[in-house]
Symmetry: C2
Amino acid sequence: MREVAVIGVGSSIFGKFPTKLVTEMGKEAVQAAIEDANINKKKIQLAYASTVFGGAVMGQRILNEVGISGIEVFNVENACAGGATAFRGVWYAIASGLYDIGLVVGVESLTTSPIAGKLIPPEKGDLQGQFGNNMPAHFSFAMRRHMEKYGTTMEQFAKISVKNHHNGCLNPYSQYKDELTVEEILNSRMICDPITLLQCCPNSDGAAAAILCPMDMAKEYVSKPISVMASVLKMGDYEYRWNDLATSDLSAKCAKEAYEMAGCEPEDIDVCELHDAFTYSEIAHYEELGFCPLGEGGRLIDEGITEIGGKVAVNPSGGLLAKGHPVSATGVAQIAEIVWHLRGEAGERQQPDAKVGLAHTMGGEVANIECGACAIHILKR
Amino acid sequence: MREVAVIGVGSSIFGKFPTKLVTEMGKEAVQAAIEDANINKKKIQLAYASTVFGGAVMGQRILNEVGISGIEVFNVENACAGGATAFRGVWYAIASGLYDIGLVVGVESLTTSPIAGKLIPPEKGDLQGQFGNNMPAHFSFAMRRHMEKYGTTMEQFAKISVKNHHNGCLNPYSQYKDELTVEEILNSRMICDPITLLQCCPNSDGAAAAILCPMDMAKEYVSKPISVMASVLKMGDYEYRWNDLATSDLSAKCAKEAYEMAGCEPEDIDVCELHDAFTYSEIAHYEELGFCPLGEGGRLIDEGITEIGGKVAVNPSGGLLAKGHPVSATGVAQIAEIVWHLRGEAGERQQPDAKVGLAHTMGGEVANIECGACAIHILKR
């Protein structure tokens, strides 16, 4: 397998843009990535595009706007992990030698989707979902369990949102740029006890893109190629949630595999974008990704370890909570954020001297199983 | 690259089943393929699932029903070529050595989809589509051009539907089992002049699945593994439709590449499943796939060359026209049909002594470009 480099990334500004087409946002991100990679668009041989609600052959429609045709295109969906799945597809095609230059793009317009202003509805046949075990309900159980089992406090959960909203203020691509207090977060509208509005990620519109090539070709295009050290994608296992609701063994398993593949340890990660769909999620993922022992996620946020400038900056972009969560764009946007940090180009939100970064997404709760997909990528400057 | 074998295939019966869940149909096809492959389901390491309208993480939801978890899953969409795209994904993962055992499943329930009883609507931003250049309109132009340029007749187009409906009568998986006459076809309701109802593929529900492994492992499971000799997937080029509407250079280009990869010629193909979305399509694809020179597709149907027992049996399953077209299931169902013929297990519709087969799908017209995706696979016994 060849070492693969990310040579270009791009993103649209995340937010609510009900008059913007998915193809417009996708074009914006792809053109930014092409410019960043300093590459002639005609060199792109393969594209993976990801969307849930963007419509059929979305990748081809975006490429058509950009002026690329005749190449192999996969459109993939893996709920919230779709962008990361697309990234893995291109990574593998290049690592294995099928192609040399590949494009990833993730796009979503939730404000124009059938779920605009609503919760994601359960799929037909998902009885748990139809009886009300929707996303916030599911995570409210897990959050309660974490509090009961490990003594994690509401204030600790709220501090996740405080940190990520603070980071969002420093990020020009972020949907929200408001400093929030613990009190504001805990007193915001109750969504599903104990989850309040400002502990949930918002509905968002946006797109992100990346361009990959073999590391030994990367210097032809850019001076700071970023190496992809690990790529792991798995669906969840059955029995887990029955044993312990407090954390997920899927992320832990994927992380273990990713660290082995990258030849590094959790201690080596300087910057991390992880799937903070709810405040609870970030605390649980600290533990699952090995940044602390099980049950100690609350301590990490208390001690400032995951702030920008701390041991491992987590969600310096603002995360899903503040930067926004245009479903299938998120996984690619996380990679873009990590790349900017590893290049030292993250501006006011730069994690100092970041050498190794990790991107983590989860997607698609399914009745009786823990998760549809978890994807982890580790990148190195 | 390793030689890859199809060791198991399965399908649900195609038709209109508004009370059946996509997960039920998917489970039926996957279980049939697992049984056909004589394999323990726990050996499956990778799955590619395809759907347009089946909802998020459909692959995981089907696997959950079947009792498979913890593996890597891609959900892919490429309009009508989605099933073939998924097949290519699994083929490549095995050919390149990433995994040994992979599952492909394609599912669609059009009768419960948002387009039930309607035409596929244009995507937002597709001005041509919004002004009425929808699928039947698009193909009606091409059909007229083929008649004008090459002298192809309405009777020749109608004979495609006669042949494919006859074949459907012999196929237990087919949606329609009615013998039709040229007169019935030409006198059926006008959809978009000159395309009448019985020259259009129907709305369908159904699922199909396949299991692949390296050829050198295949004999552990089955006595008649079928080799995948070529896999090609491409999106269309820009300018083509401006030059000549009568046929598509995309299918021709993909076919050329596929024949080179397989080391064979059009003359070697004994059985072919191709994308007869409309009667015109089959005639044009005869030419594009090299079964005859440009403009001579009408002669092939007149001379019975593409009937079962002819030089190359085309759409012995009944094709999209009679067997039905559950969008993302089609590409996988075509592979299943080819596999049955190459094994000599196609019952009453068996192409005698079939040694080499070709499956061809096209998906997703996009404004200004010719086609979103064309996929071709060549298989050999």
